[in-house]
Symmetry: C2
């Protein structure tokens, strides 16, 4: 029996502090055919962020060169900065049957849904706004004004959570990781990705 | 955070010998909030079948009394016998947030889909017709004519597999059980079952 022909594209969104990078870090250890596409941004790197894990941090001129060269799949401008998804390897990964995860904010997610209607969208939900604020406080670099601003953004993002296919609650990390893993495993079995298996069985000799 | 309000209704179909009862037996050990609804039939019990596990075996008059009393959710007639789903506890289980599994053939599955449009449908696929035939042979009670007849039915059922939401391949039992488990776990996180969680977070104090 052949494996699924085409890979699975998963869009992951969630407010800053919801735990996207932590959950993805755990998942990458488990799945050997998982690729995480990291976004590009022109905003400044925060102290706790790592180049290539949280974002690729590029200069404005460099970002615009990439747009002109057709290397950006979709982008938005927010707060005076560009945020974009590099075209790079996504289609090649999908053609090789990989599971590709795009970590992306709600507006970018809507763009991706328009380009890849078969994608699966997941929203990572913090258990409460209070817990979210605490998580942001714990990142030492944040000042109170910045946290208040991020909480405003979080509220706006949460208002779009109902547009996603799945809501993963990140109350306890290990549960959230298992829940996300189950979604990937289940979606690989969707009938739209397995029609060839039915054909193979029907055409097999009995 | 409250658990999901309403339970999940899962319809499981698959040809005779695809391993439905074995997979369900394993799953019941793992989930403590899983309820399996067993169908009623008027056909004779086969030697390897158990009352209440594979079917409830009832007389024709008894089945018709139950239809008249409104105790049958849906039924079909096949080969001169009735096959039906007892109304019994399904709605009560769902209201209590349970995951309810209906093991049912393809025609009954279509009836259930019409009654419960939010149900999740899973087709258990044998790896090949040859393996299916071997599994039927291994059940000692089967004679060759009966197996040939069941293989014909299997081919007709397989032609409906593409109408289901998920295709679980039962090549190795432990994989099939894990795959089915992932579908249940993922479907519990569907946005249609978790809107209340988004509201709760948005209404929480920050």
């Amino acid at each position: 029996m052949r494996k699924n022909k085409r890979g699975l594209l998963v869009v992951l969104s969630g407010p800053s502090g919801s735990g996207k990078d932590t959950v993805l870090g755990e998942l990458k250890e488990e799945f050997d055919d998982l690729e995480v596409s990291v976004s590009l941004t022109t905003r400044r790197k925060r102290a706790w962020e790592h180049e290539g894990t949280h974002y690729y941090f590029v200069a404005r001129a460099q970002f615009e060169e990439k747009i002109a060269a057709g290397e950006i799949l979709e982008y938005t401008q927010y707060n005076g900065n560009y945020y974009g998804t590099p075209k790079s390897a996504i289609d090649a990964w999908l053609a090789r049957g990989k599971t590709v995860i795009l970590k992306i904010e709600v507006e970018g997610a809507a763009n991706i849904r328009a380009i890849y209607p078969e994608c699966v969208t997941v929203f990572l939900l913090p258990p409460s706004l209070e817990v979210l604020a605490q998580r942001l406080f714990r990142r030492e670099s944040e000042d109170a004004a910045e946290i208040a601003r991020r909480m405003d953004i979080a509220r706006r993002e949460l208002a779009h959570a109902a547009d996603y296919d799945y809501i993963v609650l990140n109350d306890q990390l290990d549960y959230a990781v298992s829940d996300f893993r189950a979604i990937i495993r289940a979606e690989r079995q969707r009938v739209c990705r397995r029609r060839h298996m039915i054909e193979e069985v029907l055409n097999s000799a009995s």
